[in-house]
Symmetry: C2
Subunit: 389 residues, 2 copies
């Protein structure tokens, strides 16, 4: 169903040949109102792409009518000419929809450092405009169009208690690191909500979802998450329920990204508890999630806790106070490190499940946090040594 699940949204996905893959590569999502509230979160990368520069400005006033997205090229590090391409794309879509250019957000994903074939993007936009529909199929086409190394489209839907709807699509598989958002994500709702409400809900949701996943420690230049509200249901949600629903759908999408991380054979959920603060727990979890050695060990079905604690030991004491001699580590429920020393034998850990759970108890406080990552496999190297050379 994707982004067309809520009332008031149409979408399309078309194949223009921008991407070498034989699949749709341009998506259009249009909010038909009656409201056009919008919020966004973006990469903090200083080399942020032209479409990010454009969209960040466009969404600032909380008013977006459409999002045009392409795979097959990131339009990042392309200078003024690249920015002009994003602007031209927004202008063109705006003219089709008879709205202002700054009511159109632009998203791109693919190789960094090359201009887009603009003619194909504009042709794609025109074709997508002609195919706009509120059907499940149209939503699915759009979700396919934004995929790059993703092996499957990623969508989610939620239903509010009084009947309002939320739908979403996301793409992301590599160059995923926990510094705001993921690659490209569009979330739609037909609830009646203000831009301020949307921004608050999205910011909080991203912080506990997209900001806590790490496929490869690499921050993208193009990360964009947009949340659009049409108000077409006429239903005003309970604010707490709305925030919780947005957080829930973002967590679902973040989990789908980790579940489809480049080359992954295991997902790894790292929960750090017993910390003095949530930030301390997060810093510890992120240090462990960033360990190539651990990620390789997990791909070899080895619950190598030495690689867990050696990563934990890189977190400065002022960031996360704890006593190394009190730290315990469970892998899939087996306590293999007990008070900084060997616990039960590693051979007792069942490593056959795809989803691996690493539970770290710092025994220093009562706060906790979870981060998610993938193992590091031959396939990851293959994808990234050979991708789009």
């Amino acid at each position: 169903m994707s982004v067309t699940f809520p009332k008031g949204f149409q979408a399309a996905g078309v194949d223009t040949g921008i991407s070498a893959a034989d699949k749709p590569d341009v998506a259009l999502v249009v909010n038909q109102g009656p409201q056009f509230a919008a919020a966004g979160v973006f990469t903090t990368n200083r080399f942020c792409a032209a479409p990010v520069q454009w969209s960040r400005k466009a969404v600032a006033d909380g008013d977006i009518h459409a999002v045009i997205l392409n795979s097959g090229g990131a339009n990042a590090c392309t200078g003024e000419e690249g920015y002009a391409q994003s602007e031209r794309t927004a202008d063109f879509v705006a003219s089709l929809l008879k709205v202002a250019p700054d009511q159109v957000a632009v998203c791109s994903t693919g190789l960094i450092g090359e201009l887009l074939p603009l003619d194909k993007v504009l042709d794609g936009a025109r074709e997508a405009y002609g195919r706009l529909a509120d059907s499940a199929e149209a939503g699915a086409d759009a979700a396919h169009a934004i995929m790059t190394t993703d092996t499957k489209p990623k969508v989610a839907t939620r239903l509010g208690s009084n009947g309002f709807r939320v739908g979403a699509m996301v793409k992301g598989s590599g160059m995923i690191a926990p510094q705001l958002a993921t690659m490209l994500c569009v979330i739609t709702t037909d609830a009646v909500v203000s831009p301020g409400q949307l921004q608050a809900a999205l910011g909080a949701a991203a912080d506990t979802s997209f900001n806590r996943i790490d496929v490869d420690g690499c921050m993208s230049t193009n990360d964009t998450v947009l949340l659009l509200a049409s108000g077409a249901s006429g239903l005003e949600p309970d604010p707490d329920e709305f925030n919780a629903l947005i957080a829930d759908i973002c967590a679902d999408l973040a989990g789908q990204i980790i579940g489809d991380g480049e080359g992954m054979s295991h997902t790894i959920a790292i929960t750090v508890k017993g910390a003095t603060s949530e930030d301390a727990a997060l810093a510890c979890g992120r240090a462990v999630a960033a360990s190539n050695l651990l990620k390789c060990a997990i791909s070899g079905n080895d619950p190598n806790w030495g690689r867990i604690v050696s990563s934990l030991g890189t977190v400065p004491e002022d960031v996360a106070p704890y006593d190394p001699d009190r730290v315990c580590v469970d892998v899939n429920g087996v306590r293999i490190c007990d008070g900084g020393k060997p616990g039960r034998d590693r051979s007792e850990v069942d490593m056959t499940p795809v989803d691996i759970h690493i539970d770290i108890d710092l025994n220093a406080g009562d706060r906790e946090a979870t981060v998610w990552t993938d193992d590091l496999t031959h396939e990851y190297v293959h994808i990234n040594a050979d991708y789009e050379s």
Copy 2:
């Protein structure tokens, strides 16, 4: 020649079966004086191993007569029992040499989280003591004994202008990150120098060598670099020359580690110039060196500059002020990113050399720094998914 090149040093390496590999696994290096000056730098990992805890205390007074080293087990995260093992090992070697236990440093490398087979370590120490010699062969045996995933022993020698000598051995291939030192390194000299001079020379040398290499971003629990001076040449070096020689031999050894990084097919030297400070240049270089995506691209012979600048863009502006639109990137001498935009075509870059040079000009100042790393290959994953499970 290794550590036996300077006068006043004997060494040995013996095979005790601690390590599963069919090679020496216990090394002994003995300073026969007349002076016993020593300095050390150690890992900053909070889960530092028992031998690190022992040796840091032992070297604090600048007086060390011998170093006993083993591969096949790190004796890290082994609690009080592990610490007692390091202490017993030092005691035993001290009794053989008729010195005090705290005049013996202990180094271990191998799997984290398991106690050592102490009997084998002590048998090895006794056997090594019986075989001590100042020959080139004895130095080579010791250098072999500390290898783990290293594919070759790593040694270096230098001759001072007035005839004093410096010799060194190092091991290190994986779990190499730039936060003090490397795995295990012993440097010897027959110059007449004080412990204070040694510590100053070693600290400065480590900072521009072992602290600037990064195989996999993972900090070890066991990193130890020891510098021992026998004074046996009777020669007092010029202080500046001595410092420069120690820096030079450390840079040589660090280069050998990168040249033998786990699974490497390319070394990567990342020089960041045009920075506002050396720290800014270092922060940028380290961010680039940590990119799995870039390291995979290099292993696929793809000079993917998008992955260089996207890593550069993660360095906060207050750490490294620069304007993304003024950044230039050369790979092997070809300017493929010019002012934040595409420069010459990537296909012009010759990627056949083993050693790849990435030169980044921030165009923001006149300071620079270089860091060294390796590419990320299938072989790295193989080694670390299958190593000692």
